[in-house]
């Protein structure tokens, strides 16, 4: 009797509160976000977490379309194409209750251009940012920049007051191993607020009650638990057992197993990302090789031979189980500037490659170390291991050093590796982004991910000219010229474009984001 009464009372209570049930999504992927500081690392999984908490002026939705976020309207001024005006959304508050206004945008864009920021390359055409009033921002560029808006989709806006109060006006020096308040805490305007974070183990998010987009987006998920699970078998076991609802990287060998499970599904799409090897071709001598006083990678014939030695077909068939598209250029097909001719795969001719190595004077072979991440790209370590075998066939002995991305990436940024694996996604869908980060000489505000030590003033000048070239045909011609040079130099050894395989419980509904960034506010639940 008493029990019946309590049940009735509970039912009444539930009815009166409008049945707000917490819909928790358990989300897992191989690696964690590297830092919560939104400007410290321009890296996929780091942005993926930040996109739930922080917001840029505009974002790409799950299909890749640019849609309003903190700005409602934007575009170059009719009378002066050098100035873009952004109308800011009104009535937006941060998770701590502070109001959002143009001061914060001024502050964030300045912060993202400062010394330790990893987002500088996206903003280097900006001459000045002005805030005529609390809800308007004007960005003046060096010359007309037709793709300025494309560069802002991952540029998160922070609260100026919060940053000042917590002494995080300066961007975290990630490569230098610094930890700051902003690298462990977050205060954004985004749909979810951070409730707890233990790096590499568990991050918890909760729907933000004061989110401006309520009613506009599904926002059906009210709690998110994000767990990085590096081991592929453990990750897929967690999905199969129902411990997690959504994994971003189903191991290619387990696609069939997950798809066959009646409670689970796999959805796939080619990713806007290319995986490649970089070589130190600029230094006079390498630190990780056994050749005294010379850099074998400086010889184009060696690079050409290595490019030919990579058996992309075998990597696709065996390591990737057809979940990749072999690449001949370090640019995904989504990007402006991509052509089928550029993406032609070099022939896998071991004899010719050997002859080239011998011609370069390394017929007796040499030894070098390959640095590789083991929790970032699909089967990254297995690909590197396969490369060890392929390089051995042309006489190059490769020592493999595979480690977590949190240690691998700083080695590239700090120029501490001679031979490394890297993947590059292109959120702007334009070649300029690739050139700015990977091809331009490494300077203060460009070339930060160029680990090749390549430096060519002519190419640099062409890259810089792209930002202000309004004649799109001419701009495309310059892009083609730069790619021709990059391909001729064999600056990078492309491997493939990944195919994304998102695995999830049947109750989750979404499409695959080509940048591999799930934006949970768009997710719906069955």
């Amino acid at each position: 009797m008493i029990r019946k009464v309590t049940i009735a009372a509970q039912a009444a209570l539930l009815a009166s509160t409008g049945l707000v049930s917490a819909e928790t999504l358990n989300w897992a992927r191989a690696g964690d976000s590297l830092t919560l500081d939104p400007h410290a690392q321009n890296e996929g999984p780091t942005h993926a977490l930040a996109h739930q908490i922080y917001e840029p002026l505009l974002i790409r939705d799950m299909t890749g379309q640019m849609v309003p976020a903190l700005a409602t309207e934007w575009g170059p001024n009719a009378d002066d194409p050098n100035v873009w005006t952004f109308k800011l959304r009104e009535g937006v508050t941060y998770h701590d209750g502070a109001a959002f206004d143009s001061e914060d945008v001024l502050f964030s864009l300045e912060r993202a251009q400062s010394e330790d920021s990893d987002m500088k390359e996206l903003l280097n055409s900006i001459k000045e940012v002005r805030a005529p009033d609390a809800s308007t921002i004007e960005i003046e560029t060096d010359g007309p920049n037709p793709i300025l808006a494309n560069n802002l989709t991952n540029l998160f806006i922070m609260d100026k007051g919060w940053a000042e109060a917590n002494d995080v006006v300066k961007v975290q020096d990630f490569e230098g191993g610094e930890e700051t308040f902003a690298s462990r805490n977050a205060n954004g305007t985004g749909p979810y607020k951070l409730t707890s974070r233990a790096p590499d183990s568990l991050t918890e998010l909760e729907a933000f009650d004061g989110y401006w987009g309520k009613g506009e987006f599904p926002l059906e998920i009210t709690k998110i638990k994000y767990t990085p699970i590096k081991n592929a078998a453990t990750r897929v076991a967690a999905l199969l057992s129902g411990e997690v609802d959504f994994i971003q990287d189903v191991p290619v060998q387990d696609l069939g197993r997950v798809d066959a499970d009646e409670n689970l599904k796999v959805i796939k799409a080619p990713q806007n990302r290319v995986i490649f090897f970089g070589l130190n071709l600029g230094d006079d001598d390498l630190t990780t090789d056994d050749v005294e006083g010379a850099n074998p990678f400086a010889d184009k014939r060696v690079r050409q031979a290595m490019n030919m030695a990579i058996n992309r077909e075998a990597i696709m068939k065996v390591v990737m189980r057809d979940q990749s598209i072999p690449a001949g250029v370090a640019m995904p097909p989504f990007v402006n500037g991509w052509t089928e001719a550029l993406d032609t795969i070099p022939s896998n001719d071991i004899e010719a490659a050997k002859a080239l190595v011998a011609e370069a004077g390394y017929g007796d072979g040499f030894t070098v170390t390959l640095h590789c991440p083991n929790d970032r790209y699909i089967n990254d370590e297995a690909i590197c291991q396969a490369a060890v075998g392929m390089m051995a066939q042309i006489g190059i002995t490769v020592n493999l050093d595979a480690k977590p991305k949190a240690q691998h990436f700083p080695q590239i940024n700090n120029l501490e590796t001679d031979f490394y694996m890297l993947g590059w996604g292109v959120p702007t869908y334009d070649s300029e982004y690739i050139f700015n980060f990977l091809v331009h000489t490494k300077t203060e505000n460009r070339g930060s991910w160029n680990g090749t030590r390549y430096s060519n003033p002519d190419i640099d000048a062409k890259i810089v000219s792209l930002a202000s070239e309004t004649d799109l045909a001419k701009r495309d011609a310059t892009i083609a010229e730069i790619w021709a040079a990059v391909q001729d130099e064999i600056l990078y050894l492309p491997i493939h474009h990944q195919v994304l395989n998102w695995g999830m419980s049947n109750k989750v509904e979404t499409v695959v984001d080509p940048e591999d960034v799930p934006k949970f506010k768009y997710f719906t639940l069955n």
Binding site: N231, A232, A233, V236, A237, L240, P251, Q253, D254, G256, R257, T288, D289, D290, N311, A314, I315, K317, V318, V319, T367, V368, T369, N374, E381, A382, Q385, A386, V388, G389, M390, M391, A392, Q393, V398, N399, L400, D401, A402
Partner: protein
């Protein structure tokens, strides 16, 4: 002296002849060791030569021709196209070499520390045994990982692959010396108070001679037992470290590395990469362990029936 030794030997031999478990485990252990030593002669491929690998052979099922190359492998191939049988044989060499060397290393440190502690007594004894006590509070695999991490940090990157095996030996050895030290100290304390030691002191022999010429031979039998059991543990420790990805380099896989690779393909039905190395490791560790158990019983009259 000779006759005593012979009697000792024959006792042990008698016990061995009458223990089917001992005979069986010794046979299995010897066969495995022999197979590992002769790996270059009997293995069909050299899995440690990356140039000889063909990635296209990857994931071949046991005794079935590969879909791309048509090659057939007795126990299948792993994810890189390495013949599993050859990799087991070569990998066992690493496991056994690391095991033996680590035990010898631990034994030398432990025996010397134990003898010195027992003979010197006082403060020296206290210091050595407290260090041992502190180390015992940590699981030995944790100690090994810690030492491995530190040693790896000190090794230049381009030498890491070559040095990995030696670093493994040192880390497993250093994590394992305590047992030797404690047992030797106990036995040596008993021996120290015996008359032959007092006689040796009286005739003016130096402490080093007394420790190594007189006491050491009389404490060796427990050391032998611990060494055998430690060998099994060291082999498993090496496999554990490699399984965790901190041991043998991926290009020179040991049994633990193979098991690590194999467990990634369990859900997809590629069972042979995991099963065969696991069985080998089980057989190897079990046979050595049973041999150690038998040796302990045989050398300890108190346990006899």
């Amino acid at each position: 002296m000779d006759s005593v030794k012979r009697a000792f030997d024959s006792d042990l031999a008698w016990s061995f002849r009458h223990s089917p478990v001992a005979i069986l485990s010794a046979t299995v252990a010897l066969l495995l060791i022999l197979a590992a030593v002769c790996a270059p002669l009997i293995a069909p491929y050299n899995p440690f030569d990356p140039a000889s690998l063909n990635l296209m052979n990857g994931f071949s099922r046991p005794m079935e021709p590969n879909a791309f190359t048509g090659d057939s492998f007795l126990l299948g191939t792993d994810d890189q196209g390495r013949d599993v049988l050859s990799t087991i044989l070569y990998g066992m060499r690493i496991s056994l070499f690391v095991g033996f060397a680590a035990v010898v290393f631990a034994m030398i440190i432990g025996v010397v520390a134990g003898l010195v502690a027992a003979y010197a007594g006082g403060r020296v004894d206290a210091i050595i045994m407290r260090i041992a006590d502190v180390q015992l509070t940590f699981p030995s695999i944790l100690v090994a990982m810690l030492i491995f991490g530190i040693a790896k940090g000190f090794t230049p990157v381009h030498l890491r692959d070559q040095m990995a095996i030696w670093v493994l030996i040192i880390s497993i050895g250093l994590s394992d010396w305590v047992q030797f030290a404690r047992v030797v100290r106990g036995a040596a304390l008993v021996e120290k108070s015996k008359e032959y030691v007092e006689a040796a002191i009286l005739i003016g022999r130096g402490p080093i001679a007394i420790i190594f010429r007189h006491i050491l031979p009389n404490v060796l039998s427990p050391v032998l037992v611990i060494a055998t059991i430690s060998l099994a543990l060291a082999i498993i420790a090496e496999a554990t470290l490699s399984f965790l990805g901190v041991g043998a380099p991926p290009t020179r896989p040991s049994l633990g590395t193979l098991i690590r690779i194999g467990q990634g393909y369990l859900f997809s039905g590629e069972w042979w990469i995991l099963l065969f190395p696991s069985l080998t490791l089980l057989l190897l560790a079990l046979s050595v362990n049973l041999l150690g158990d038998w040796l302990r019983d045989a050398l300890n009259p108190k346990l006899g029936d």
